[in-house]
């Protein structure tokens, strides 16, 4: 197994379209790193550059300490699982898994051992004679993973492998891949646009937007300390609520939203941080789970809201309302007696409010 390092990696198409800009991150040995971002953010391109399927415009990629920029995919000792599985339709499951080993001229007995071992890990033993078209989506996905496992590569690459599966199967495969990571103790790089997948699977997450890496961090750090408004909005489901307003006062600072529906005093700690922003426009961010119907502590302020939509999930309830004409969502614990049209008082915890620079979108710490 091996370490993967990207140093100032760029991808420019036709000399002008910059798809990936200065990508820098390290995937440590045995680590599970997830590249996440909205579609078109360059995450798949980054993965394909690591695989060698796309040329690198500038920068360096190291796998196991060696620069691999000029190496063809087959010499990088990697395996990749594709979004559409990329199984050879005319070959059986067994042949699909054995294909790479046959090309490497591995001994037939050894191929048999490895394929059967992988089939056992992935519960594919009874499907080895079938062709891909006779398999369900989840089984095909497992074959694609099996094809990667048998080759015992240094690095596993996954390109949105679960996006073609239905919701239930996706959750199941998510855990299976995580288990597999522990079992194989392999270095894995995983691309997804689904933040839940990223949060649940990765040891480390690389958040990308418009070809630029915004933050590389552990899932909890991304959630608690997002570097900017984009990361704050992208990580967490339902997404963070944002509202524009102004910091007012000199010593003891307060925030007042532009529409006037929110006004609260900052904590001493926050006042210190925000002193530079006195009389300036900023954006605040409030996570849906930090809005509650019961007053959580003294340091929280109330807002009167007119409930527009209620989404009961069983264990929790999503409540939609508007503040300053902007859609807000709160996540409440099991409230059965709320209905749309109700006017209720909700509480927001002051110390859980995030502040973002209006110009740069940076989290003000």
């Amino acid at each position: 197994m091996a370490e993967v390092i990207l140093k100032n990696v760029c991808k420019i198409y036709e000399g002008k379209n910059k798809v990936v800009t200065d990508a820098n991150f390290t995937v440590k040995d045995k680590e599970f790193v997830v590249l996440v971002g909205p579609s078109g953010c360059g995450k798949t391109t980054t993965l394909r550059m690591i695989a060698g399927l796309e040329e690198i415009s500038s920068g360096e990629i190291f796998i196991d300490g060696k620069v691999v920029n000029a190496l063809p995919p087959k010499d990088r000792d990697i395996a990749m699982v594709f979004q559409n599985y990329a199984l050879y339709p005319h070959m059986t499951v067994y042949e699909n898994m054995a294909f790479g080993l046959k090309l490497k001229k591995v001994d037939k007995k050894e191929i048999d051992v490895r394929v059967k071992e992988a089939a056992k890990i992935l519960s594919l033993e009874s499907f080895l004679d079938r062709k891909p078209k006779a398999l369900s989506g989840g089984q095909r996905q497992r074959v694609a993973v099996g094809r990667a496992i048998v080759r015992k590569p240094k690095v596993f690459l996954f390109d949105e492998p679960l996006s073609n599966l239905d919701a239930k199967l996706r959750v199941q495969m998510r855990t299976e891949i995580s288990k597999l990571h522990k079992q194989l103790e392999a270095t894995m790089i995983y691309v997804t646009h689904d933040q839940t997948e990223a949060m649940t699977m990765g040891n480390k997450i690389v958040v990308m937007k418009d070809g630029i890496i915004n933050q590389v961090d552990t899932p909890m750090n991304l959630y608690n300390n997002p570097v900017n408004k984009f990361v704050a909005g992208f990580i967490g489901s339902p997404a963070m609520n944002f509202l524009s307003g102004k910091i007012i006062g000199n010593d003891k600072l307060s925030f007042k939203s532009n529409g006037g529906s929110i006004k609260f005093e900052l904590t001493a700690n926050q006042s210190k941080r925000m002193s530079k922003y006195s009389d300036k426009e900023i954006i605040i961010g409030i996570r849906p789970e930090n809005i509650s119907i019961e007053k959580p502590n003294e340091n929280s302020f109330p807002v009167e809201v007119n409930i527009e939509v209620i989404e009961p999930m069983g264990n929790e309830t999503f409540v939609y309302f508007q503040l300053d004409g902007i859609q807000f969502i709160s996540r409440l614990r099991e409230y059965e007696n709320l209905f749309s049209g109700n006017i209720v008082r909700l509480f927001i915890q002051v110390e859980r409010v995030y502040f973002f620079d209006k110009e740069t979108g940076d989290n003000i710490n």
């Binding site: 399927l53 087959k74 990697i78 395996a79 050879y88 790479g100 090309l103 094809r147």
Partner: protein
């Protein structure tokens, strides 16, 4: 509406199309089949009552006719050489035009396809000039390297290869377009997966392109085989079946018997024997397709 009524309605709507097919397809085929058991000839055209049913006599005569066997042999020669050649060339051209290395693809695609849409008669006349022993460009080019002129269409050994070359040139563009469509249907990620697994260009071709193209190839083989079995205009225009019947094809022989000597009954029997030969060829290929 019950099932029977809806079935009647369905036939009612199908009637115009079915009657056209019946009148213009089944009726002539049935008529020809009946004629093949008669001595229908030029006298019959004058006096229809002179036609006589002669049972299998036409068929019996056919299997004793040396010219029929010559035509059959020539036709098989043509199909067995020209069809694989055409398929190989069209696949090669399709692979080239589908590769990322080639530029101006549209121009190449167009120029390879032009012969397909050109009238066969015009093409055959032009090629007759190309093959001309005195003024043809081929002999001129050969003369530059000191090779004596060859009478391409006048020699029994070169006439058929010359016709094959022209036919392949004329028709490969059609198969090429179908192959290109087949190639474009192969998902790119299969090649990418194979690259990662260490496959060379040849291994990718052998393990991905060829098997993925199998249905296309079988389809092309069948239509090419059927088309080539029926070759007629090429020898008719270029050699009239000569020299010494070395390019006489079955269809041409059928045409000669039917419209030169007016032996319609005999000609119809050739058509039906030929129909069975093509059908067997097609069945063999379909069987092959099922196995792939």
């Amino acid at each position: 509406m019950n099932f029977k009524q809806s079935q009647t309605a369905a036939y009612f709507f199908l009637a115009p199309a079915l009657s056209a097919i019946f009148i213009f397809f089944f009726l002539p085929v049935i008529a020809a089949f009946i004629i093949s058991f008669t001595d229908f000839d030029i006298y019959t055209l004058g006096n229809f009552s002179s036609v006589r049913f002669i049972g299998f006599n036409n068929y019996i005569k056919l299997f004793d006719d040396p010219l029929f066997y010559t035509a059959l042999k020539n036709t098989f020669y043509f199909v067995i050489v020209a069809a694989p050649l055409s398929i190989a060339i069209s696949l090669g051209a399709a692979l080239l035009l589908n590769s990322k290395l080639v530029k101006f693809k549209a121009i190449f695609r167009l120029s390879y396809f032009i012969p397909v849409v050109t009238t066969l008669v015009a093409v055959a006349i032009v090629w007759r000039f190309i093959y001309h022993p005195k003024f043809g460009i081929i002999n001129y080019l050969l003369s530059l390297i000191g090779i004596a002129p060859i009478d391409w269409l006048g020699d029994t050994t070169t006439a058929m290869p010359a016709i094959i070359l022209m036919s392949v040139w004329k028709s490969f563009g059609y198969n090429m377009i179908i192959f290109i469509a087949g190639l474009q249907n192969i998902p790119e990620d299969l090649y990418e997966a194979a690259s990662i697994e260490g496959a060379s260009g040849w291994q990718k071709f052998k393990s991905i392109t060829l098997p993925m193209l199998a249905p296309t190839t079988v389809f092309i083989s069948i239509i090419t085989m059927i088309g080539y079995f029926q070759f007629f205009a090429e020898p008719y225009i270029m050699t009239q079946g000569g020299p010494l019947n070395s390019t006489l094809s079955i269809v041409q022989y059928m045409y000669q018997e039917g419209f030169k000597w007016w032996n319609m009954g005999y000609s119809a029997s050739i058509a039906f024997v030929f129909f069975f030969i093509i059908m067997i060829g097609t069945l063999i290929q379909l069987k092959f397709q099922k196995n792939t």
